[in-house]
Each structure stands twice: as C-alpha cells, then as structure tokens.
Symmetry: C2
Subunit: 116 residues, 2 copies
C-alpha cells in the first residue's frame, strides 16, 4: 500500500489522482456523504446541504452518475420523483470519507459567519 | 467512527466538510502527495506535477501554508532556495491519501489524450 504514496511521479493512472479528479469539485464529497446511509430524493439532498444551488447540485449529481458512482431512478408519479443512490463502486468511497472525517477532527473550526 | 458518516445534517463543524474544504481545490491532494516522502523544493514539486502552472502551484502552496499543513523555509543562498515540508498536521493526511489510493485502483483509467 505504502508504495502507492511513494512513486516518483504522478502518472495518468496514479490512483490518488483518479480519486482526486472525482472528488475535487466543491460539494462532491458532501453529496456522497449524504447518500452513504441510503438513497435520497433530490430535495432531501438539497435540504441537507445548506448553501448549495439547485444548478450546482444537479450538475454534481450528473457528474457522479457519469463516473459510475451514483444511480438515478425516476418514478413515473405525478409529479415525477427522482431518487439518487450510490452504486457498489460509490459505496466503496466510504473508507475515503471515514479517513477524511478522522482527519477533519484535527482541523480547527472555520470562523462562524454569524459572529463576524 | 461510523457516526461521523451518519449525522442528519452537515454542520459548520462537520469533520468531512472541513477536510473537503482543504482538499477540494484542483492539485491540492497531489501537492500533498509529493510532500509525503519528505521536504521538496518548489521546482521539484513543479517537475513532478505535469501540467500545473507556476501560478497555481504558488497559490496552492500558500493556501496549504495558511491552513497549517505545509511549512515553507527560505534559505539565504544565491539565488535563494525555498523548501516546502508537511507539518505534523499535514503528515496526518497520509491516511486520507492511502484511502484515496486504494479507491482509485477501482476507477477506470482516464482516456489517453495522446491516443484521441
């Protein structure tokens, strides 16, 4: 495992680079986090992520679908209902988020915007 | 640990969010990856990361310094030499990158631009 971190250069197929390219967009990690416990409707994800715009959320979900991490299911109800769920590959990202959670506990809290 | 992934909402102090805010900029993860084996000069980092612009690299290194993950040391040689090293906190991000490396092995290779 450690050899993955000590390669001399970062090639096209570097696995850290591939994961970074999936996760580095703003909000992406947090959208995956919302889906880890199970499938959710668009509106549920939006409510959970304070500050995300509908356009950004739609764009990120499309991207996650395109890279095979998220499945979208549309139900032919009136009005139609759309549900999002992690694929098996998407579920595998859990370990990354757990490591991020553990590391984040060591980071200072951001300044509270309501207090400044 | 698992409760870190199952909170109902993502609050200001959510540890995954704090880590995401540090890592989500393009190139950030790969710069940290270059510094994991030990300190490096600016030019060494730039050579290792094909395609990064000098301006982007300088900006990311300043950011990583500002959040306490990287130390910068300037040596009064002629010409001056600048070295970057991970702080103790920065070293702790190793587990996140290891999880990213493991996950990335499951992702398909990106299309080779030289072949398209």
């Amino acid at each position: 495992m450690d050899n993955l971190l000590s390669q001399a250069d970062c090639h096209v197929s570097c696995p850290i680079k591939k994961t970074a390219e999936v996760l580095e967009g703003k909000w992406t990690t947090l959208i995956i986090r919302e889906l880890l416990p199970g499938k959710k409707r668009y509106s549920q994800i939006q409510r959970a992520l304070e500050g995300i715009s509908p356009r950004m959320l739609a764009s990120r979900l499309r991207f996650l679908e395109s890279v095979g991490l998220v499945n979208r299911t549309v139900y032919a109800t009136v009005p139609p209902m759309t549900e999002y769920a992690l694929t098996a590959l998407g579920q595998d990202i859990r370990d990354v988020l757990q490591a991020m959670a553990k590391f984040g506990e060591k980071l200072p809290d951001p300044p509270d915007p309501k207090r400044s």
